[in-house]
């Protein structure tokens, strides 16, 4: 791919200390040249294997987390670049590829049911946005230095650090 072929797309990533407004992320990626927006919203669960979760606490290595999030988004823009041919959409792809990606991950204490992460991807056609959205989450869980601690009701106040068990950490105990 020559330099001129690098797809033009809006990319934004954030580490959010406060509640995430999913609507704002949908609006960021909305594009009249795109027909599809795929959004993934991760929410905290109130139980883990039957045990009641009181709250979750996230921390991150912020500059590296932002760098990894940005790299994930940029890689997906290149991977789902589209072929520029709007006529070639029989498989749900084709056209301008990804127009915009927005990823935000919450840090700090997050109550049960609240949003911990949001990924929004806008593309010309449906499958690109859906696949890129799923891959962004997969990559986020495997690469972005963010940690989640579950604090259970009635259990030790210490809480439990979770592990996704993906990527370089695949040998670790898998969870969530």
């Amino acid at each position: 791919m020559s330099k001129d072929d690098v797809p033009e797309a809006r990319v934004r990533v954030a580490i959010a200390p406060n509640a995430i407004d999913e609507r704002a992320h949908i609006e960021y990626v909305r594009d009249a040249r795109a027909g599809a927006i795929s959004v993934f919203v991760g929410t905290t669960r109130d139980t883990f294997r039957g045990e009641k979760v009181q709250k979750l606490s996230y921390e991150c290595y912020e500059p590296m987390a932002l760098r990894e999030l940005r790299a994930i988004a940029d890689e997906l823009v290149v991977k789902y670049a589209g072929d520029g041919d709007e006529g070639n959409a029989l498989d749900g792809r084709g056209g301008h590829g990804i127009r915009a990606i927005d990823i935000a991950h919450r840090v700090g204490d997050v109550g049960a049911g609240e949003t911990s992460v949001v990924v929004a991807v806008a593309s010309a056609h449906r499958k690109d946005a859906q696949d890129a959205c799923a891959e962004a989450m997969e990559a986020l869980k495997a690469r972005v230095p963010i940690w989640k601690k579950e604090i259970f009701e009635g259990a030790s106040a210490e809480g439990v650090w979770k592990a996704n068990g993906l990527g370089a950490f695949a040998a670790s105990e898998a969870a969530s």
Binding site: C60, M64, V117, A142, P145, W147, A168
Partner: protein, 88 residues
């Protein structure tokens, strides 16, 4: 002396009871990430179990476990102890 900054996160931070530390490595010994890993075990023996599953990030880039002995450190480097991550 090669002085680097070591960052601790999550369980590593809790066990080290600090989120960062300056660590001196013998410059004559051409220190690497593997050198730092060994030195951290001396300074923080309580990190032993965490270091078994942790990966290092050097200046915000992951260091492959198999490349730790080949990855040289220079003064001012930022080396993060990255326990298994759980974002999402």
């Amino acid at each position: 002396m090669t002085t680097i900054t070591v960052l601790f996160f999550a369980r590593a931070r809790e066990l080290a009871e600090t989120s960062s530390a300056s660590v001196d490595l013998d410059a004559d010994a051409s220190p690497t990430v593997a050198t730092a890993r060994a030195r951290l075990l001396e300074l923080y023996p309580q990190l032993e179990s965490v270091l078994l599953t942790a990966v290092f990030a050097l200046n915000q880039s992951y260091v492959d476990r198999a490349r730790e002995a080949d990855t040289a450190l220079k003064p001012g480097d930022e080396l993060a102890v990255v326990p298994p991550i759980s974002g999402g």
